[in-house]
C-alpha cells in the first residue's frame, strides 16, 4: 500500500501550529493547497509559553506586535492561497498540551506542526519536546512537515 501511505491526508478541520518560524508560510501554503479541494477548515494556533513565575492570564501576547504579525501573516498567506484561516492566540504553560487541547476542543481531525532544521552544530532537526508530546497525546492524525535541509533547497 505504498501509494496510500504517501498520499496527502484528507481532512475536514485542521489545527495548524504557528511557531513564527520563517518556514511557517511554506507550511501554511502546503496545508492550504491540501485543504482547498475538500473545503476543509483551517485553524492557525500560535501559543505563547508563559513561565510558571508569571500568571497565565497576564496581558502579554495581546499587546505584542510580533505575535500579532505571526497570526496575521498566516491569515494573509492562507487567503492568498484561496483558503480562509481562523487565527487563534493562546497563552499556556506548555505549547504541546495547548495545541492538543485546542485540537480536541475544535474537533480537528488533523494537527499540523512544522519541524525546523537547526544548522548549528553540524545541522539537525530541532525535535524538542513539543512534537513528541503531540505525537503521543493528539487524538487525531498528526502531520509533521519538516523544513527542507539547506542542501535540498540549494
Amino acid at each position: 500500500m505504498p501509494s496510500e501511505l504517501s498520499a496527502p491526508p484528507v481532512f475536514r478541520r485542521a489545527v495548524v501550529a504557528l511557531s513564527g518560524h520563517p518556514n511557517g508560510q511554506r507550511l501554511i501554503r502546503l496545508v492550504a493547497e491540501l485543504a482547498k479541494p475538500y473545503k476543509a477548515e483551517l485553524i492557525g494556533v500560535h501559543v505563547v509559553e508563559i513561565d510558571w513565575s508569571m500568571p497565565l492570564d497576564m496581558d502579554l501576547a495581546g499587546r505584542s506586535d510580533e505575535i500579532q504579525q505571526v497570526l496575521d501573516v498566516a491569515e494573509g498567506t492562507a487567503e492568498a492561497a484561496g483558503v480562509q484561516l481562523e487565527s487563534v492566540l493562546l497563552q499556556a504553560r506548555d505549547v504541546g498540551a495547548a495545541l492538543v487541547d485546542e485540537a480536541v476542543e475544535r474537533e480537528a481531525d488533523l494537527l499540523v506542526v512544522g519541524l525546523a532544521y537547526r544548522t548549528k552544530f553540524g545541522g539537525d532537526f530541532a525535535i524538542g519536546k513539543t512534537i513528541p508530546y503531540i505525537l503521543k497525546n493528539a487524538p487525531c492524525a498528526v502531520w509533521v512537515v519538516r523544513e527542507p535541509i539547506p542542501e535540498e533547497t540549494s
Partner: protein, 669 residues
C-alpha cells in the same frame, strides 16, 4: 473573560490555557510596523439601509474584490488578435453598406465603383497599420494617441486627442450595439420594432458585466471573433467561387432600377469621396493594439506589431471580399418593409436565407459587434482614469469600484451611448456620420506626435520611420478633412464638441491646480505648536442631555466657552438663565432676543460682534461652534430633529476662522 482573555481548562488537570482575543483581527491585518490593512469586514456597512444596499449590489455585481485579486494576464498573439481586433474587424459588418448607401445615389452603375472605393480604403488601412506598427515599437508601454501626443506636443494637443478618443469610444458602443441589433432583426424581422429597447438592453447587460469586473482577456471573448472570422472568410470563399468560377451574378431589386431615372447623380468625384468617407469607418478600432501593447506576452512590442499586421490583413480581406460579393450579387441596403443589412443579405445569398448557417452567421456577427462595444467599456473608463489622475476630469473617475472596475466611467459611457441609441432610433446609418471623424483626428495627432518623436530621439533608421509616419499623418489628415466635409453637417457636431470637451478639461485642471497650490506646503515647513487662541460658542435650546454633552466636549477644547440661547420670548430666556446659573456654573449663557423670530441671522451677527471685540493686536481666534445634535434612529427622526442645527451649519460653513463641531447625542448615553 477578563480584558479579552478567556481561561480554558485542558484535558489534564494542569493543562490550562488562555485564549487571547484579538479585537483588531476581524477588521484589520497587521502588514508592517505601524501599518494595518483593512479586511473586507471593515468596509461592510453597519446600518440596515447600508446593509440592504450592499446586499442588492452584491446580488447584481458580485462580491467586492480586493486589489490583489486583479488578474494581470498577458495575452498571446492569437488571443490578442481576437480581443483587440474585435472593434476593427466588426466594422466590416457595416462599412460596405455605408459605401453602397452613398453610391446608390449615382444609380446602379455607380455601385460597381464600390469595389474600388473599398480597395482605396484598404490602401489607407495599410498606411495606417504600418504607421501604427511604428507606434507599437516606439511606445511599448502603450501608445494611445493621448499618451503619444502628451509626450510629444504637451497639454492642449493631448486633450484634443483625448476628446476625440472619448467621442470615438462612445460612438463605438452606440454604432456596434445598433449594428448588432440590426443583424438580429435582419435574421428575425419580427423584432424590428423592438430594436431601440433591445439596443438599450444590450448596453445595460454589457454595463452590468463590466461593473462586475468582466475582463476582456478571457477565452470566452476570443471565441466570437474567431467564429465570425471563420464563417465570414468561408462565406467570401464560397461566394467568390460562385462568382468567378460559376459566373453567378445577381440583379438589383426593381425599386433601385426605377430609382435610377429619378434620383440619378453622375458618378462624380464628390460622390466617390463621400462613399470613401462613409466606408472609412472600417478603420475604426485600428489603434486598439497600439494602446494595449503592455498586455502582450514578451517581446510585447514585436508581438503587438505582428498582431497589428495580421489584423490589418484580415480586415482588408474581409472588407474587400464583402464588397466584392455585394457588388456582384447585386446587393444593397433594404430599409423597407423591414430593414435588412447588406452583410445579412450576403450571408443569405451564400448560405441560403433561413438556413442554419445563415442564422449562425448572423448570431456570430451580432456577438462580435457586442464584443466590439465591450472593448470601449474597457478602454473608455481607463482613459478617463488616466485623465482623472492627470487632473483633467473629476477625481472620482480614477476610483475603482468594489469589483476593481472604473465604475463612474462605465456608467457615463453606457448612459451616453444608450441616449444616442434612443435619439437615433437604433439606426446605425444615422449614427455613422458622427463616427470616424474623431478616429481620423486621433490618427493624425498620433502620427504627428511620432514625427516629433523620431526627430527628437533619432534612433538608427529614424529618417525612414519618420517618412512612414509623415506619409501616414498627411494621408489621415486629408481623410479627416474629407470625412468631416463629406459627413457634414452631422460631423460638425463632433468638431464643435471637441473644443467644448477640451475647454471643460482645462477648466477642471485649472481648478485642481489652484486648489493644490492653495493647499501646498513647503518641504522645509515644520508644523508649529498652536499659537492662535480658541473659543467655543454653543447654540443651545435649553438644558438637556445633548446640550450638556456639547458643553462637556466644548470645555475640552478651550477655556473660553459660552452658550448662546436665541429666543423671541424674553421670559423664556430669564427662566433658562435661572436654571443655567444653578446647573451649569462656569459657562456663561448669552441670551439673544430675536423679535423677528430669526435664528441664523442673530447667531452669525453675534459671532461677528465677538470677532469685532477681539483685541486687534492679537491673532484672530478660532471660533469653534459646537452644535448639539440628536442622532436620528429612524428616517422620520430626520424630519423631526436637527433642522435648526442644519440651518446653522449651512450658514456657518465657509465662515472665516470658524470651525463647526457636531456633537451627536445617542439615546441611552
Amino acid at each position: 473573560m477578563i480584558g479579552g482573555r478567556r481561561p480554558l481548562q485542558g484535558r489534564k488537570p494542569g493543562d490550562r490555557r488562555v485564549r487571547v482575543e484579538r479585537p483588531h483581527s476581524a477588521l484589520f491585518r497587521w502588514t508592517g510596523p505601524g501599518q494595518l490593512t483593512a479586511k473586507e469586514a471593515a468596509s461592510v456597512p453597519t446600518t440596515p439601509r447600508g446593509k440592504l444596499y450592499a446586499r442588492l449590489k452584491a446580488m447584481l455585481l458580485g462580491r467586492p474584490l480586493a486589489s490583489e485579486e486583479e488578474i494581470g494576464e498577458r495575452l498571446s498573439k492569437k488571443k490578442a488578435l481576437a480581443i483587440f481586433s474585435s472593434d476593427a474587424i466588426s466594422s466590416s459588418a457595416y462599412a460596405t453598406e455605408e459605401i453602397l448607401r452613398v453610391l446608390i445615389l449615382g444609380g446602379i452603375a455607380a455601385l460597381a465603383w464600390g469595389l474600388w472605393v473599398s480597395v482605396a480604403i484598404a490602401v489607407l488601412l495599410i498606411a495606417v497599420a504600418i504607421s501604427y506598427r511604428q507606434i507599437c515599437l516606439a511606445y511599448p508601454t502603450g501608445g494611445g494617441s493621448y499618451s503619444v501626443s502628451k509626450r510629444n506636443f504637451g497639454r492642449r494637443m493631448s486633450l484634443i486627442a483625448a476628446s476625440a478618443l472619448m467621442i470615438d469610444y462612445v460612438m463605438t458602443v452606440a454604432v456596434s450595439t445598433a449594428s448588432s441589433i440590426e443583424q438580429v432583426t435582419s435574421a428575425v424581422p419580427a423584432l424590428t420594432d423592438w430594436r431601440v429597447l433591445l439596443g438599450v438592453l444590450a448596453i445595460t447587460l454589457i454595463t452590468i458585466g463590466n461593473l462586475r469586473g468582466l475582463r476582456e482577456a478571457g477565452n470566452l471573448f476570443a471565441i466570437p471573433t474567431y467564429l465570425f472570422l471563420v464563417s465570414a472568410l468561408l462565406m467570401i470563399a464560397i461566394g467568390t467561387i460562385r462568382i468567378v468560377i460559376f459566373g453567378e451574378h445577381g440583379q438589383y431589386a426593381a425599386e433601385f432600377q426605377n430609382e435610377v431615372g429619378s434620383s440619378f447623380q453622375a458618378v462624380s468625384l464628390i460622390l466617390l469621396l463621400r462613399a470613401f468617407a462613409a466606408g472609412a469607418v472600417a478603420l475604426t478600432g485600428t489603434e486598439a493594439i497600439a494602446t494595449g501593447v503592455p498586455a502582450f506576452e514578451p517581446p510585447e512590442a514585436r508581438n503587438a506589431a505582428t498582431t497589428l499586421a495580421i489584423m490589418a490583413a484580415l480586415l482588408g480581406v474581409l472588407f474587400i471580399g464583402l464588397t466584392f460579393l455585394a457588388v456582384n450579387f447585386g446587393i444593397t441596403h433594404i430599409d423597407d418593409p423591414v430593414k435588412q443589412t447588406v452583410i445579412s443579405q450576403i450571408a443569405g445569398t451564400v448560405y441560403g436565407f433561413g438556413s442554419i448557417p445563415f442564422f449562425l452567421f448572423q448570431g456570430f456577427t451580432a456577438l462580435l459587434l457586442v464584443l466590439a462595444a465591450n472593448t470601449s467599456f474597457n478602454a473608455f473608463p481607463r482613459l478617463l482614469a488616466i485623465l482623472a489622475a492627470d487632473g483633467f476630469i473629476p477625481r472620482q473617475f480614477a476610483f475603482r469600484g468594489d469589483r476593481l472596475a472604473f465604475s463612474y466611467g462605465i456608467v457615463v459611457l453606457a448612459t451616453v451611448a444608450a441616449a444616442l441609441i434612443v435619439l437615433f432610433q437604433g439606426e446605425t446609418h444615422l449614427l455613422i456620420p458622427l463616427y470616424a471623424v474623431g478616429v481620423f483626428i486621433d490618427f493624425t495627432i498620433s502620427q504627428a506626435g511620432m514625427i516629433r518623436h523620431w526627430r527628437r530621439e533619432r534612433p538608427p533608421g529614424w529618417r525612414r520611420r519618420l517618412a512612414i509616419n509623415a506619409f501616414g499623418c498627411s494621408l489621415t489628415a486629408v481623410v479627416a478633412v474629407v470625412v468631416t466635409v463629406a459627413k457634414a453637417p452631422q460631423s460638425l457636431i463632433v468638431l464643435a464638441l471637441i473644443p467644448v470637451l477640451v475647454a471643460t478639461m482645462m477648466f477642471i485642471s485649472r481648478q485642481y491646480a489652484g486648489q493644490e497650490a492653495e493647499l501646498a506646503i513647503r518641504d522645509d515647513f515644520v508644523v508649529p505648536s498652536p499659537h492662535r487662541e480658541q473659543r467655543v460658542v454653543i447654540p443651545v435650546n435649553g438644558i438637556n442631555r445633548a446640550v450638556v454633552q456639547a458643553i462637556v466636549f466644548g470645555r475640552t477644547l478651550a477655556t473660553d466657552v459660552r452658550a448662546v440661547f436665541i429666543t423671541e420670548d424674553s421670559e423664556l430666556g430669564d427662566a433658562l438663565r435661572l436654571k443655567w446659573e444653578r446647573q451649569v456654573p462656569g459657562v456663561p449663557l448669552v441670551i439673544v432676543e430675536s423679535p423677528y423670530r430669526a435664528l441664523v441671522g442673530p447667531l452669525t451677527a453675534y459671532l461677528d460682534v465677538l470677532d469685532l471685540a477681539w483685541p486687534p493686536d492679537k491673532d484672530d481666534p478660532i471660533t469653534i461652534v459646537v452644535l448639539p445634535e440628536f442622532v436620528a434612529r429612524h428616517w422620520w427622526d430626520r424630519l423631526l430633529y436637527n433642522q435648526s442645527a442644519k440651518r446653522l451649519k449651512s450658514a456657518l460653513v465657509g465662515r472665516e476662522h470658524t470651525v463647526i463641531a457636531d456633537v451627536p447625542y445617542r439615546r441611552g448615553h
